[in-house]
């Protein structure tokens, strides 16, 4: 158990013009579950592998606890890693796989067996201890990979998309198992995923990366309610936030027939146009607003999502709105959509940086955050 510090850690691959990870600054507290999330090629896996010692650090430093590990071999870092494809040793039984690190560390046979048995009990692997990996299902292999990590009792767990090879149902189930297990053990965990739902549901804090650069670091709620830029706004949340350009007018921004109020100070250096964002649950039907044509309704039971398109100042605009169950409009029907007061996210049109937005979560998004957290 330890803190983890990335201090301006940079990784440039030989021959590459742009760094794969650029000046990453992260301070992960003891026992924290931190999720690194972003699209493919954003540098999240590279960051994790830098922490593991599998990638060189080009500049900057990385520390685990008090120890500077920047140039330390992986074997000396006291970390355990769960790989995307698990990387179980095919020629060893489950028990041997789990006990391998202990065997290397010179732990006696009896203690080794005891610790493997303990981990196997935690993960429901007891009946499988004598099997070879090839005789295991995907979910069982995943648990063995977890077991191999926890047997070590390491300072940090590193997990590189450990759920991406599982089917959807098992993924949800394993997600909560990993969350509760790491918290019970109190081990600092760095978890890489491209799936923002995994990030929101598992992380104490989330670091969103894009093109090697950290975009925002915060709790799931902070990221959801106050995305620092357009990229984070669009990446976190499903369906994604509606993001579109809007004209700045006296007192706010013009959306369809309505002017949505935005404080003057926020728009001071915004120019004539801004990028605005509205979460699907913050769009309400009826009253004033933008008239749109319904293209598709996704019914999910308790609620549903309405996919529609409208015309805003000559440009086609596609929107997603959440509607309560039983209030579904017909396909092709004309509906008027408007943002709930105070629920508009405003970003700079050129830089994409956040200018203003809701201060606290709305009733609807608070529900979403509770469900997620």
């Amino acid at each position: 158990m330890a803190t983890v510090v990335f201090d301006h850690a940079t990784r440039v691959y030989p021959g590459a013009a742009e760094p794969a990870v650029s000046e990453l600054d992260l301070r992960i507290s003891d026992g924290e579950f931190l999720v690194l999330v972003g699209p493919s090629g954003c540098g999240k896996s590279t960051s994790l592998r830098m922490l593991a010692g599998l990638e060189d650090v080009s500049s900057g430093r990385i520390a685990i606890g008090e120890r500077d590990v920047t140039y330390m071999a992986p074997k000396d870092r006291d970390i355990a890693m769960v790989f995307q494809n698990y990387a179980l040793y095919p020629h060893m039984s489950v028990a041997e796989n789990m006990g391998f690190a202990l065997r290397i560390a010179g732990v006696g046979k009896q203690e080794r067996a005891a610790r493997v048995a303990e981990a196997a009990r935690l993960l429901d692997l007891e009946p499988l201890l004598d099997r070879k990996p090839k005789a295991l299902s995907g979910g069982q292999r995943q648990r063995v990979a977890m077991g191999r990590a926890i047997v070590r009792n390491p300072q940090v767990f590193l997990m590189d998309e450990p759920l991406s090879n599982l089917d959807a149902k098992l993924r949800v189930q394993t997600r909560s198992q990993i969350s509760s297990l790491t918290r019970r053990l109190g081990v600092t965990t760095v978890y890489v995923t491209h799936d923002q739902v995994e990030a929101l549901t598992m992380g104490d804090r989330i670091a969103v990366m894009r093109a090697g650069v950290l975009q925002q670091l915060g709790t799931p709620r902070e990221l959801y309610n106050a995305p620092r830029n357009v990229f984070v706004a669009g990446f976190i949340g499903s369906p994604a936030m509606n993001v579109f350009p809007a004209r700045v007018v006296e007192g706010g921004v013009q959306i369809g027939t309505t002017v949505v109020a935005v404080e003057r100070s926020a728009l001071a250096d915004a120019g004539a146009e801004v990028t605005v964002g509205v979460r699907p649950e913050d769009l309400v039907a009826g009253g004033d607003g933008l008239t749109v044509t319904v293209d598709l309704v996704e019914e999910l039971g308790a609620d549903g999502y309405l996919y529609a398109h409208g015309d805003m100042e000559g440009r086609r605009l596609d929107l997603v709105a959440r509607v309560a169950g039983g209030e579904y409009p017909q396909l092709g029907e004309l509906v008027t959509l408007a943002a709930r007061p105070g629920r508009l996210h405003v970003f700079h049109a050129q830089t994409g940086e956040r200018l203003s937005g809701p201060v606290g979560p709305s009733a609807a998004s608070r529900q979403a955050a509770v469900a997620a957290g």
């Binding site: 010692g53 599998l54 990387a87 179980l88 391998f100």
Partner: protein
């Protein structure tokens, strides 16, 4: 258009004929070759082993006389012991060397690729050429033993007269065999080592294993099938070694390097006792087949599985 229709139909028919299983005819070239160069000679040799023939005139039937003569010939029995010894020494010396160099050469470094390319040169040379070179190099009067007298004269190597003592003669054959064949087996191990997924080494490194432990706990178990392939090839190659012995030692001193294959050659082409030579040939063929079957059974090669299943 009407003229095109029948032609189109013919095309379809010939196309249709090609779709089914290939006819027996397609395997004829291979079967002809195998029959002509393996089965027929084997049959002729088996028949010859019951005849007396000196390559001139026609063979005449002598029953089991050749067989009883050979099995009471001490050189014949000894030649199989020597064959077994040379084969075992070949496997024992070549396996560790080619394994280590192969695993080393499997690394991605460019200097390793260059050195490996140089190292593989003996693969391109014929056994005879290699043997001729080594006969000169190891000549006690003007070869290496003379130049490096401090090493070869120290008493360990029969004062540099390497071909004159049974032990050093066997040593020379083993050494030249190693020089000639390790590049080939290195290539096999290099291929095997390159196929081991990197992620296993990464997992092992994180589990605390250094390079030596990674070699013993990951590389070696993962190369199990590769090792079996290499050993079977060494076994078959070792049992039939002939050309290096012919050039290097001619089975001497005495008969202490006379392998079964070489003894067969002397019986046939020096003593012109083709009947006796055929007995050796048949025994050697049976012996090799049995040994291969045993290896396949013992190693589980017949039900071999990928070493990467379950990764």
């Amino acid at each position: 258009m009407t003229t095109l229709t029948p032609r189109g139909r013919t095309g379809r028919n010939s196309g249709g004929a090609r779709i089914g299983r290939p006819s027996f005819l397609w395997s004829m070239p291979a079967i002809t070759f195998f029959a002509l160069f393996a089965i027929v000679p084997l049959g002729v040799v088996a028949w010859l082993s019951f005849n007396s023939w000196d390559a001139i005139g026609s063979p005449h039937w002598v029953g089991t006389a050749n067989w009883s003569a050979m099995f009471s010939d001490p050189v014949f029995l000894k030649s199989f012991r020597i064959t077994a010894l040379l084969t075992a020494l070949g496997i024992v010396t070549q396996t560790p060397v080619s394994l280590l160099i192969g695993v080393w050469a499997a690394g991605p470094q460019r200097n390793r690729a260059v050195l490996s390319a140089l190292y593989f040169i003996p693969l391109l040379m014929s056994s005879l050429a290699i043997s001729v070179v080594w006969v000169s190099l190891l000549n006690p009067y003007f070869g290496l033993p003379h130049e490096l007298h401090a090493v070869f004269g120290a008493g360990l190597f029969n004062d540099g007269f390497l071909f004159s003592s049974p032990t050093t003669a066997i040593g020379v054959l083993t050494f030249v065999g190693m020089w000639q064949w390790t590049p080939f087996h290195t290539l096999i191990y290099q291929g095997g080592a390159r196929a081991i997924p990197d992620v296993l080494y990464q997992a092992a490194a994180i589990d605390g294993a250094g390079r030596v432990r990674q070699f013993f706990h990951i590389t070696l178990p993962q190369l199990r099938n590769t090792m079996m392939t290499s050993v079977v090839l060494m076994l078959v190659g070792g049992l039939t070694t002939f050309d290096t012995i012919l050039v290097l030692t001619q089975g001497q001193p005495g008969t202490s390097t006379t392998s079964a294959a070489y003894y067969m050659y002397t019986k046939a082409f020096q003593s012109f006792q083709f009947g006796n030579a055929s007995v050796i040939a048949v025994v050697l063929a049976v012996f090799t087949t049995l040994l291969s079957l045993i290896v396949v059974r013992v190693s589980g090669w017949d039900r071999m599985r990928s070493t990467q299943e379950g990764i």
